[in-house]
Symmetry: D2
């Protein structure tokens, strides 16, 4: 396995949660403290407005403010790759330009849909975002929660757009990632998601992972990443197994509720997910507590 050059995005990018006051305003102090602590724990970048960041539940004013706070907290120490998500090209292009203007290092591009979208429509959407900015773009696809998916032929076509440089696939199908890697021949790099085993994705040539669990286990995630980078797979698997148990504990519940609940246990007052999403029950809080304790994250 050729080691990828570490010049682009790589490593652990936590999906930063979105702490709001009951009024709907962004809780900037908590968010800033969380971002600072994540960076101190060694994460390689920050991703606001991913799925765990509840992009689908926030209006544009909230989204922009969240990104501003993350950018200010990061203060250039790590890249900030923020989410763009819309059902229309015109709105997605607007969001992407604004995020570039704010100072983001990259765009995580998410297509929302109500009616099914054709391959041509999917291609047009991501192409428009890429052409609207000069930043690197990370394609995002999550067939579990979305009404659209990125087919292999569309991914290949998109990989030929110069600044479409990464893809994050949140399916459960790890083989699909190797198919993508085989197909794009280095034009695009692959990030794992919470639904994949990071060590496996690193083994097949991935460059890191983006996801919610890294928010509450940043140090453990970075250690796992470094072991994979070194090719010390025996030690990597020793770290991977308990981290996966944490993921499994979360897979049963609303992901935003889990990560926010876990952060509350760690002393970050991030509040509950936006209603009608429900916060964790007392029982599931205990399950998250045990999972965090098992990996030394509490």
């Amino acid at each position: 396995m050729p080691r990828m050059a570490q010049t682009g995005f790589h490593g652990v990018f936590p999906y930063v949660v979105s702490p709001l006051y009951p009024s709907g305003e962004v809780n900037a102090p908590v968010l800033a403290r969380l971002c600072g602590d994540l960076i101190k724990a060694g994460v390689h970048g920050l991703t606001p407005l991913g799925s765990t960041g509840e992009f689908a539940y926030l209006n544009w004013q909230q989204r922009r403010r969240l990104v501003e706070v993350v950018l200010e907290a990061a203060n250039g120490r790590v890249p900030v790759v923020a989410g763009v998500a819309s059902t229309t090209i015109v709105d997605a292009v607007f969001q992407a330009r604004e995020l570039e203007r704010l100072g983001c290092s990259g765009i995580l591009a998410i297509l929302e849909a109500y009616f099914p979208v054709t391959d041509e429509g999917v291609f047009a959407y991501f192409k428009a975002i890429a052409e609207a900015v000069s930043l690197p773009v990370v394609l995002y696809t999550n067939p579990n929660f979305q009404r659209s998916d990125l087919s292999l032929p569309v991914i290949e076509r998109l990989s030929r757009i110069p600044n479409v440089k990464y893809i994050k696939d949140a399916s459960f199908n790890t083989g699909r990632l190797l198919s993508i890697i085989n197909r794009v021949q280095g034009r695009m790099q692959v990030f794992a998601a919470s639904s994949h085993i990071p060590a496996c994705v690193m083994l097949i040539g991935g460059v890191g992972w983006m996801g919610g669990p890294a928010c509450i286990a940043p140090r453990q995630s970075v250690e796992l990443y470094e072991l994979c980078r070194k090719g010390d797979w025996v030690a990597a698997m020793e770290r991977q197994r308990p981290l996966w148990a944490l993921n499994q504990a979360f897979a049963k519940y609303n992901l935003a509720a889990c990560i926010k609940g876990g952060l509350e246990l760690q002393g970050y007052e991030v509040g509950p997910p936006l209603a009608p999403q429900e916060p964790l029950t007392a029982e599931s809080v205990e399950e998250v507590r045990r999972a965090l304790q098992a990996i030394g994250a509490l």
Copy 2:
């Protein structure tokens, strides 16, 4: 079958399309003319911001303006039941209150979701909308295009809220409608959708239908409704069969593209659906043309 009292919403409610200028502004003259013609054709109400109205692709400013234009065009001649759609309770309540303030006669309440929603969350969402307004509320569910669905127990619970008076179910499962009717015992009335055969839903006790196709075949839809109301089922089925063929022609394509394409053929310059939705191809325009001609709607 006992005849329902015609005191509440009943009959044919076209899902009014959303004509925009390329700038994104609402094309008020075209929309007003369409609404006027629909009312002259005898429709019993107008529903802006349904699925065919592309609610999922419009921002709040566009949504509000569309409703204003429809209200002004209707001018009290028929009820206007406008769509509220959001992923959060706080935003849905805001929309519902604004629509009441604008003068709508009812709310079509739609739950959007990214992460799965529990039954408690679904109940909380619709309850909050109902309690925010004094208008009658129509529950909407479309398991084909949405990440959430309304279970029978939740529907029954919601039917006990005084102003939750209707449900429109856009599944393909007509039997589910009879199960709902059996279960809510008159506390809630049922509207059919494009995915059901209207004559069948009228037979089992429905009060009408809401949908996109009524936009381009309003006169034929109203005739079908009147025959069903009179219990002249033989004549009703003679109208139903060719109308269903029209529905079938549309089921192959994006519904907004079809209705907008059909309206363009009828001389309404409503434009294409919002990108990345694609307009009809030349070939499918011809298919829609033939389907409209077959029912005398062109």
Copy 3:
């Protein structure tokens, strides 16, 4: 709606259950008594080896014996349309020929599959069955429980084979039945299934229904059918509503377990479904008891 000529199969065809002794041998006395009683209740035909007949759980020796007993009990009073079900053409053709030789009046043709089947493969399978016998063939499709489905183009092609005269579609999509009726233009007649509201299917032009519930409510089913035939839809719906409640009670459980459980309550010792299918629990027996009492079938 033109009344169909009643020269072919029409009316209520119960899916006869398969009562076995613990040894696996067919319980002929119970089966014969059930068939005799169904005929006395007025059913228009008998269908052994439908889904409720557990065809998928029986070997060929059991299947053949079941058909022999049903044929002997019917003794020519009503047509017997028996199920053929296989994954291979060669086996299906064998079964169909044997059933014709035994004296069946028609074939209910079912395609089982492990790997997905192409439209060409689906067409070849049903065509081979039709050409192997001189009996009328009823196509069967159940997308809920099967790995294959019959597309509209394949149904249209099959409708041009002279003895492919009927289709029974066990999806939940009643609109699909009207699409089929529109498309085959009288070359093929449509039977409803337990998943459709029989009165609705009769309204749109169906000729009857085949299903498990008719086994435990034969008299009520026949009355409903006759009211539909007469076009007395108000009275038909009065019968339809409580019968649908019965269907709904069954939809929650394994269908064979429900019908067998209901027949046990009615005094037919048909035994449990084949393991690992589970018999009804004590609680669900009570639910079935109440549903049967509500329609006067107990």
Copy 4:
């Protein structure tokens, strides 16, 4: 990662295809030659009557004869783990006992279903097979092609039955395999399937893989296995990548058609899959040819 003891089943178990004469009789000479060549290529076991072995399309006489031929060809050099597949417990127990009597080394236990099966039913089925024989049992689950699946709690319960020692999961969800490994704590070993990347499953603690592609690339598969066993992951991934491309070529078509088509190209006259499965088209034969040439298997 602790190296598993190599005392049980491990390594590469090709899913042996089922070559039949047009009459339906087993083509013993071709099957015996294939088995001999696979063993010479180093495979660690042989699995007749897996999915690629078309178990779902064969009657018991054919299944028994196929196993007899494989056993005779293996002649004790490698373990033969044959498939048991049924919808009923009674039939599955019969098959398992017969396979033990014939001399198989293990059972690959497959549950077929028409109606959904409860967790209790799934447990009862596999338990009955395990208790009917003294052989080690491999649980098989394939949610893509089957109407049933093995939940994690059922897998855990089954892992406590002494001779239930392995599981082969043919989902696309590699993370599920790690969840199983975490949960069964060594009581059960995991085999990968064609839908997983073998190197990844070996990394997380798997003991090998069973699947169709190993039939046409046995030497390459064994080399990959040995590299994984040694922990030489860089070299393993060099082998893995082109082998995965082969898998991908197959994923587009009927798997039995692909493997049989590939074996025909390699000079084994195994014939087409059973109709209505369709053989490869001329075009897809060329695609398989190129995929085999790319890995040196032609």
